[in-house]
């Protein structure tokens, strides 16, 4: 299959089965202290997941199930309560240049222009790039997310979807090994979204990046993911990991027309629906 070949090529030291684990979560339990109520909330319980180099893993699950918490743990923004989370064989102790992130709430600096926001990773970490290379990359990634001409705009002058695309460019500009994307296309209209999905698929096939991607759209999960991880509601646990064995590039093969696509989609949809129903019952 095409994917397997592409992956094998991009691998520096492939293991026997051609897969190098990049992100390894063992018995990961994470939560938050609720200061006001002297309580603590377990957001994720006992997560066991291994993500290999070049893999595209999509997380789905009802709102509040702990998807953002999981990628925050990978990013090093929250500490495990129990269990371990390792990136490239080392326990995560904090953020690092090997991981880039697209934030659910954009998190753009309002005092910086589009260009300056995208350039920010270069200011904060030393990547041994020349000035010209940095400028070139900033320009290239702004073009990739289709914001050429808006370099000098401030975030308040942009629409929600445009802000989100600035966030995507900022995460990609340093070309990190691992891309953590928290609902990166949520605010983008259906047409542009499809174009960006296809763009992203092509992009990561070229770079060999490992992607952990959160979405609420099951179509998006199936169309993009090598594996779809369904997370159950509070505390979030892995309910099922679904392998998506569809040919890539998915947009060239028009996989939405394949019967397997529909089956996969229905299967995941049922899993998520059960969870969502339990959520609704829990609320009552």
């Amino acid at each position: 299959m095409k994917v397997a070949e592409a992956k094998a090529l991009s691998e520096s030291s492939p293991a026997a089965d051609g897969a190098t684990p990049v992100i390894v979560s063992k018995g990961l339990t994470v939560g938050y202290k609720l200061h006001r109520e002297r309580k603590q909330l377990t957001a994720l319980r006992n997560i066991n997941l291994t993500i290999n180099r070049g893999e595209f893993v999509v997380l789905v699950g009802p709102s509040g199930c702990g998807k953002t918490t999981f990628i925050n743990a990978i990013a090093g923004l929250v500490e495990p309560w129990e269990g371990t989370i390792e990136v490239n064989g080392r326990p995560v102790t904090g953020p690092g240049p090997d991981r880039g992130m697209v934030f659910q709430d954009y998190a753009l600096m309002p005092w910086r222009t589009v260009e300056s926001n995208v350039r920010m990773p270069f200011e904060l970490q030393n990547l041994n790039l020349s000035k010209e290379e940095m400028n070139e990359r900033v320009r290239r990634y702004i073009k990739l997310v289709d914001l050429s001409g808006f370099e000098k705009s401030y975030p308040y002058e942009l629409s929600g979807g445009m802000k989100q695309r600035v966030g995507i460019a900022r995460a990609l500009v340093s070309e990190p090994d691992i891309l953590l994307a928290d609902e990166p296309f949520a605010a983008i209209d259906a047409m542009t979204r499809e174009a960006m999905q296809s763009e992203l698929e092509r992009f990561v096939a070229n770079t060999g990046q490992t992607v952990v991607f959160i979405t609420h759209s099951i179509d998006e999960a199936v169309i993009l993911g090598d594996r779809v991880v369904v997370i159950s509601y509070r505390p979030g646990q892995i309910k099922e990991v679904v392998d998506v064995n569809l040919p890539r590039p998915r947009f060239d093969y028009d996989v939405k027309m394949l019967p397997e696509y529909g089956e996969m989609r229905d299967h995941i949809w049922r899993l998520v629906k059960d969870e969502a129903l339990q959520t609704a019952r829990g609320v009552q």
Binding site: F103, K143, S174, E175
Partner: protein, 294 residues
């Protein structure tokens, strides 16, 4: 690594084509919304002073309490165009006193900024500094500063030092408290983003907390200017022989109501100018905040 040069996505490009940003001409209503307020204000103020003049000329109120607008403008013109002869002990000129008051106000504000901004930032950034300083800051900030004037007259006499001290005390707390609040309310997600992209601890302060806090500091300075102006006038009214406050007291003592009204008008103008200056400063350093207000 990445090969993106083949990104020819004509379907998407239409959405965000830069050519959508076009120069638009001026319509009549835009011209009016821009210059209309000025026209209205000028007509309004002219009418106000004319009515005042007519009312004063009618003799309904003793000119000692309400001089005519024309005599006030005359006193103003005279006061602003003449200066005291060299060596004079007491000046009758508004310009001299205005300069004196403004100088003390500026020095006091500068000192208040130099103390207040770092202190506020430190209080926001370090919980021990906050714990130790906050009771004093709240106590002094809530105390009416005018109550301290006699104390400082006792310490320092009717000196420039006393007046500047009052200005500093008046202005330093709003500046400090605003800077403190700015640091405290810095958005968590912005800090998280900076951390993810490699910010060190000092980067977090210089690249996130400080720019986020800057508009707070400016509005602190804005409040500080207002309070400082009150401080400087009160200090001068209490004693001394210089400054606009002194001139108000003296014009009252000498029953010179035209001069007093002229000084009050100068104060209004000074205060409005300073406020406008800080608004402009805010719009300049924090345009993203300015947009919210419109």
């Amino acid at each position: 690594m990445a090969t993106l040069d083949d990104s020819d996505r004509t379907s998407v490009e239409a959405h965000t084509d830069p050519s959508r940003i076009q120069d638009t001409g001026w319509t009549m209503s835009e011209v009016w919304s821009r210059y209309g307020p000025w026209v209205v204000t000028i007509v309004n103020l002219t009418a106000f002073f004319c009515l005042w003049q007519l009312f004063a000329m009618s003799g309904a109120i003793n000119p000692l309490f309400l001089p005519s607008a024309s005599s006030m403008f005359e006193a103003l013109w005279h006061g602003l165009t003449t200066t005291a002869p060299p060596g004079a002990v007491v000046s009758g000129s508004i310009a001299d006193h205005l300069f004196y008051s403004l100088r003390n106000l500026s020095i006091g504000l500068a000192i208040a900024c130099v103390i207040g901004i770092p202190a506020g930032l430190l209080m926001g950034g370090n919980k021990y500094v906050e714990m130790i300083l906050s009771p004093y800051v709240w106590a002094l900030a809530s105390l009416p500063r005018i109550a301290l004037v006699p104390l400082f007259i006792l310490f320092l006499g009717f000196t420039v030092k006393m007046q500047i001290t009052i200005v500093v005390l008046s202005a330093v707390f709003p500046i400090m408290i605003n800077a403190w609040a700015g640091v405290k309310t810095t958005e968590k997600s912005l800090l998280a983003a900076a951390k993810v992209f490699g910010a060190s601890r000092s980067d977090l302060y210089t690249k996130v907390v400080f720019p986020y806090t800057l508009p707070f500091i400016i509005s602190g300075v804005q409040q500080g200017i207002g309070r400082g102006l009150i401080g400087v006038i009160i200090a001068e009214i209490f004693g001394g022989s210089n400054g606009l406050g002194y001139l108000i007291r003296r014009s009252a003592d000498t029953f010179n109501s035209s001069l007093m009204y002229a000084v009050l008008l100068v104060l209004v103008i000074v205060s409005l100018t300073l406020i406008q200056f800080t608004r402009w400063l805010e719009a300049y350093v924090a345009p993203w905040r300015h947009m919210d207000r419109l």
